[in-house]
Symmetry: C2
Subunit: 219 residues, 2 copies
């Protein structure tokens, strides 16, 4: 039986992008269903009743939620091609630790850069740069975060790269000036077709973020 | 070479307890190092520089942080005995989803029950009971959360059981009245020696929580 794979997603989502890149790495064909997040589909509400959030991967009718969990699921199901998590247990734990750090710390700080103003924004920007520097410290002089190949941590963080232009423009700072090694890493990652084909244009993301700022009353 | 396993921990921690139960399930001998959280050891600061939190598992000199990640690490390293995560990728994803739910939702709500007063506490209590009911809904009439055996979700939630008496006393409610199936599940879990030997007495936890409430200025 051929696999039936459906992805409920929303085009600029860094979490949805993780799943799109993972599926591309594995060469899995799937149906992409764009969600209108102001008018969520019955399918989204039914497949993710707890959080009602994208992305949801529906594999042969069974839903998997939460992007980092979906990526691990994809890696375990389609295990013969392009392994994403390292095989060594210690490296796997390190990879999970840094993905968790991205989700808990970097994502939360990144939001403050474009959803707030004044002092709150300055504090958010400071926090965001600090968390990026921490992540860059883990990268060091290695080509990728854990191991020698593009893997779980790279895949889970590279989607943020298409948001960098928005963070920099609204936050009035340069990520490259703060974290040059992180930008060199990102440029290395987008040389991969699975990544460059997935990431939307940074100006298109900027247009989306600008609209959202109006909705949130930041502008 | 024999494994050298050290656990930096603090006795009432539900996160530390997860690791203690996992090591007991696997029959791994280890050195338990109690941390004074008001005066953290240089070893803790050095092995968990990001969060500076217990538990930290140090295996042959290499530290692993974050309890759910540590438990997965233990399951992968000592894989021949007492598997904790299911072998099926879909069940593994489900197990990870519910552990993440416990960490993100239940833990946060549980804290509000004993660290706040008045309306804030009432709201926290309502939220805590709702999240418990959601978790109980996932349990349904099964003996354990995912699969037929005591596993990852059970192990990650059962440490909360020794805090139930404190939640109930400070929140003035009965978890058994709200979630009878959850209590039946907990009683099933504590029949396991690996669990009952690990969990501290609920009255001792209550004494600790009472002291902490004074420190936090709740009482």
């Amino acid at each position: 039986m051929a696999d039936e794979v459906v992805l409920l997603d929303f085009w600029p989502s860094m979490f949805g992008l993780r799943v799109r890149i993972a599926l591309a790495e594995k060469g899995v064909k799937y149906e992409f269903k764009e969600e209108d997040l102001r008018n969520k589909s019955p399918l989204l509400l039914q497949t993710n009743p707890i959080y009602k959030k994208i992305p949801v991967l529906i594999h042969n009718g069974k839903p998997v939620c939460e992007s980092a969990i979906i990526v691990q699921y994809i890696d375990e199901v389609w295990k013969d091609k392009a392994p994403l998590l390292p095989s060594d247990p210690y490296e796997r734990a390190q990879a999970r630790f840094w993905v968790d750090f991205i989700d808990k710390k970097i994502y939360e700080a990144s939001r403050k850069v474009w959803t707030t103003k004044g002092e709150e924004q300055e504090a958010g920007k400071k926090e965001f740069i600090e968390t990026l520097k921490t992540l860059e410290g883990q990268l060091g002089d290695k080509p990728y975060f854990v191991g020698e190949k593009f893997g779980f941590v790279d895949l889970c963080f590279i989607p943020f790269y298409c948001w960098f232009y928005s963070y920099e423009t609204f936050g009035k700072f340069s990520i490259e000036a703060e974290c040059p090694k992180l930008i060199a890493w990102a440029k290395r990652c987008v040389q991969k077709e699975t990544v460059s084909n997935a990431l939307p244009d940074e100006k298109k993301v900027f247009g989306f973020v600008s609209e959202l700022r109006k909705v949130f009353g930041v502008e």
